[in-house]
Symmetry: C2
Subunit: 275 residues, 2 copies
Amino acid sequence: MNSVDFTTVVSSMKNQKVDRPNRASVGTLSGHAAGEPFEKSVYRKLKEMYPNRIFKQYEYLNDIYLKHPKHITIEQRYALFKSPTALFLLSRGTEATKKWSPENIFEEKQNDTADILYYHDDFYNIIDVKTRNKSKTAMPPNIISAYKLAEMCALMIDNEEYENINIDYLEIDWIEDGNYLKCVDAHHGNLFKANPETLYINWAAAMQVQFHVCNLDQSWEGTREEWARYYLKVFVTSAEHRCQKMREMYIIPFLKYIKEDTCVDCKQENTQRLD
Amino acid sequence: MNSVDFTTVVSSMKNQKVDRPNRASVGTLSGHAAGEPFEKSVYRKLKEMYPNRIFKQYEYLNDIYLKHPKHITIEQRYALFKSPTALFLLSRGTEATKKWSPENIFEEKQNDTADILYYHDDFYNIIDVKTRNKSKTAMPPNIISAYKLAEMCALMIDNEEYENINIDYLEIDWIEDGNYLKCVDAHHGNLFKANPETLYINWAAAMQVQFHVCNLDQSWEGTREEWARYYLKVFVTSAEHRCQKMREMYIIPFLKYIKEDTCVDCKQENTQRLD
């Protein structure tokens, strides 16, 4: 398996300063936008290390479609992906892909899977950068849809694709420092080294897996296939648990209010069931 | 039932201008913060119309606790609410209420139920202001938790509180206008005039009811009790539907991956069930 040298990226980020995107007088910084300069900085570092292998996700798509101008149908364009799993994770929807042309190329999209993509020799490494204001306590951020991960695992198993995809996360911790933001710490974690059991799925927040990269478990020692199957087990169990909780919280407590006044028979039935 | 004159508020808002909260050069405005000056403007108008009956939610809480300095236990403080339903909708949690003192009063909290409260003569009117940049298309905003509404309906029925609570929404549509934001239209809708069937519950977005106030159905002609019971029926049906959909999308398609490799017996059982 190819591999990106994340240790070098992490150490290059530490103590780095970037211009703050607003004036200190405007107030505190928050949200995704605040840390964006650090995401750009990670991209530049990776590009410097691997000039021809690093892309933004939309750059990669534009690149392969531009290189194959005769591939114009949706089937031809999708066939440019060497991997069904990468196709699923990286391609845009059918409509957008049909409409793509050299005059109408893709731009960055907020819900793209990858912030940055390392591609070489049919190996796809998705890299996501999470920036974090260390002077605030914050809930773990949205990482990726748990459902998207489940679909990915099914595709990996169906196509026996265990060696050609990787997903890595970088966390850049920063503080405000006058006219700058300063990186005070950086962390790396690989999704497939995390025991799937330790991943928290927030069903009420668009089924997002949520974690701080610095806390991501890295203890998994099984094979990639074992990871995929175990993730699916964890996902299905979590979905079942969520359904059961929904039943207990959102259905059962309210049944008595909606049946009582319908008819005497229902009333009896309802009383029997609930008492 | 008391009532707030929303027609006057709506017409007073139209064509109003407020200072834009950032410079035009900084770029487009988005998010809740952008329309905040209009929320303040609605509050000022209502305060002008009903000087002693209009509060921010936290102001109301501070007001009743300050007026009853001898009520210091949690039970005493909660007893200051004349209505169990209003207590549920408006009070802060046990810990926060215990810690309240004249030196440690409440401040605004983002997930308070009401932006503005009209209170008079044991009648509580919750007023929520939604501001909307009309030059952008936007998804309907989060209005209120569908579960919170269900709990409210149960309380209304349990306590036969049908006349002392109201929930109203105002929508302020604005556009950028040089150094100002200009209100180009305003709308009012009453929650209990909306047929519960027409309320969309987004289960994946923290169970929020979502709508644009201008599109809120206002055709309900039943009693408040009928509304509460019918809402609960709609809520429970929606929860059941969500569970069923979760089963179909997130459980069944993945079962074959997690059972196959466990044992021969399971494999057979699994094959029978899925083929």
